[in-house]
Symmetry: C2
């Protein structure tokens, strides 16, 4: 891939994604295979004045060996130095950049219960760090990086598939030789406008239906706010948490979701692919589910903790969206969620209810907010999706017709 | 390189090098470029029963950016989580594997004073970890791994230089398709025998002379013990700290070294190459020095701390040794030190004096032991080196003639 384009992309991640501030601590998580691109991001972060950049390289092959060979006791012992490091990040108001390049088969064959035990132990011990990012106290950004393993999944049997994947990533992220930063900002502004428009209707409920069998009623949290595109940190720094992004999303009312939803894209959960699954909700809780592939992983997700069988996000994306029209299945939620309406099981974003980041847990629960140590999106949009919104004045507004926004 | 040979080498590092014990914590430091080989070492460690294997990947390009962009204040702030992590290693009696694949130019252009300030701050804060490894409380092993950057330095302008470098590393390390572990053990036993023989003479002083101008008297510490090949951890586990190794080495008496010594091989110190240098000693201390190349780095080393201008090791290797005969300049002390007599500036090994690992600092000082937060070997052997040993009975014994052991 042309190095100028990669440099543009690294700049986009640093300047728009995390919007690194002068003298800020920057934490980067990166798969080991993409270290050459990660180095570009590090240098860009220093160039805009980062105080210190720490890269945590993740080697999914070693992780797999950890899961296979370590006892559950060892795996779930979250050591003091890990907690101390997380505290350092929060105390120093770090911003977080997470580079993702999934190896869809990396953790295949690992006992999902072992994965879950580890995630749970870590989630509990480091919940203060999850709060810090999920509540956007500091800026954070997730962006994709092409690797051979990922390209083999997305474009199998094509020799130049790493280049093809790069092209797809850069196109989805509005990166070109020209001013990618302004192009991205324009795009992000347009999503913010769209969210504003949706909020003006003051919906209390969304009803989803399609020919696959989805028939779902999702009440929205009290004082729901549709968000999308950029966010603002506690210190008021604008940032783009996801590159790319097309979605506007709101907060479901935890106990007011009823009906059935069918997945329309595979879900990569903890290294395993879950395919063709459905979830039936009663009073917000998943009461029945099945999957043609990856049932054990789906079960592990739903049983992860008390909150993981309830929804934490509902997101609207036209079937006729730029990423959807690329017609590439990325096997990576960061991308695939932008090609389809989706829901998330688990933790809700407090910013999706008015002044939510300043509310206590009790106040958020009253609004209908779900709490969990996980948050996993799954896709259910389709070309024949209909979405009807019901306002607090009981007016019914058609939001989606034939898979696309019509408002 | 043939994968079976790499697997043999990984086994050698795990089984003979660190000699990983069942249920032991294993810490691996690895340059990021060689992650594929490192994965083999991780799996071998788990196969012999490691409780947990933690890999710290080091990216020298990012390190260079840290040094270039971070302020000295930021660089020298050693955070609590780093100390907490080091404590975890010591408290859990970890064994340490350090894979090395130097990029000789990685830190070129970085201010040596900045490098030094960081090393010093880290050395002071983590001296308990240095003590743990330098005193062989836990097992540790350093071994080389071929990479493109290193191969470009060792075999420039040769397309297949990574393979050539692997061949050299594996040959030096006694690795073949056959039983590399027993072959290594035999080799290690022979070095132990040689050290035993030297100890039987009970030398108090070594005198070095060659045509390059070296003319140096090195008194040995009281109760000096020549060591070499394998060592034993506090718990009595035999291990090979260096792969490869050919040397037998003893402890100089800190304040009883006089004369001049000329280097015979380049020294790679903190990413810079120091070439053609000399050191003049008076009462143990370096009182005059110069280098044709890399003077600033040499200065930084000598001025690192109080102990870095005194010797901590004296090692004897025949010019006609297997690694020397390969006639390859590795630009890596781990290898080059085995092709030449060498000295180290800085910390001495307490095991080089009788029962030294059980002595207090005060007792060690009385024996003539040097203390420092660094330990850097440099090579001064040559094909015409003469070494004469003087025993406590004032007998003079010729140890080396024309560069080689004759006892």
């Amino acid at each position: 891939m042309d190095n100028r384009l990669l440099l543009e992309y690294a700049k986009l991640i640093v300047k728009c994604g995390a919007n690194v501030r002068p003298n800020q601590l920057v934490i980067i998580k990166s798969p080991i295979e993409v270290y050459e691109f990660t180095r570009l991001v590090v240098e860009e972060a220093y160039k805009v004045g980062a105080k210190k950049v720490i890269v945590d390289y993740i080697d999914s092959v070693n992780d797999r060996h950890d899961y296979l060979y370590e006892s559950v006791d060892t795996l779930t012992e979250i050591e003091d130095y890990t907690v101390s490091r997380a505290k350092y990040e929060v105390d120093n108001q770090a911003c977080h950049i997470s580079l993702t390049s999934p190896n869809p088969l990396a953790l295949a064959g690992v006992d999902p219960l072992k994965l879950q035990a580890y995630s749970k132990a870590k989630g509990e011990k480091l919940s203060f760090l999850t709060d810090y990012t999920m509540n956007s106290i500091g800026q954070w950004c997730v962006a994709g990086v092409a690797s051979k393993a990922w390209a083999n999944k997305v474009f199998p049997n094509q020799e130049n598939n790493v280049d093809l994947l790069w092209e797809a990533i850069l196109k989805a992220s509005h990166v070109s030789e020209f001013d990618s930063v302004s192009s991205w900002m324009k795009h992000s502004d347009s999503i913010l406008e769209h969210a504003k428009l949706l909020n003006s209707f003051n919906f209390k409920k969304l009803s989803f239906k399609n020919s696959k069998g989805t028939d779902l009623e999702v009440y929205l949290a009290l004082e729901n706010i549709f968000a999308g595109g950029d966010e603002y940190s506690a210190e008021g720094v604008r940032f783009s948490p996801n590159i790319p992004t097309e979605e506007v999303f709101g907060m479901p009312y935890k106990t007011k979701v009823n009906g059935i939803v069918y997945s329309t894209k595979p879900l990569n959960y903890q290294g395993s692919i879950i395919e063709d699954f459905y979830l039936r909700f009663k009073d917000g809780k998943v009461v029945e589910y099945n999957a043609k592939k990856g049932f054990a992983s789906l079960k592990a997700l739903i049983e992860f903790d008390d909150g993981s069988s309830y929804l934490g996000e509902v997101a609207l994306i036209s079937h006729n969206s730029p990423i959807s029209n690329m017609n590439v299945l990325f096997y990576n939620t960061l991308f695939d969620e932008n090609a389809s309406c989706h829901l998330a099981l688990g933790q809700a974003y407090s910013m999706n209810t008015k002044a939510g980041t300043k509310l206590s847990k009790e106040e958020l629960i009253k609004r209908g907010c779900n709490f969990s140590n996980t948050h996993i999106d799954f896709m259910f949009g389709s070309k024949d999706m209909s979405v009807i919104g019901t306002t607090y004045k009981d007016e019914e507004i058609v939001i989606f017709k034939d898979g696309n926004f019509i408002i």
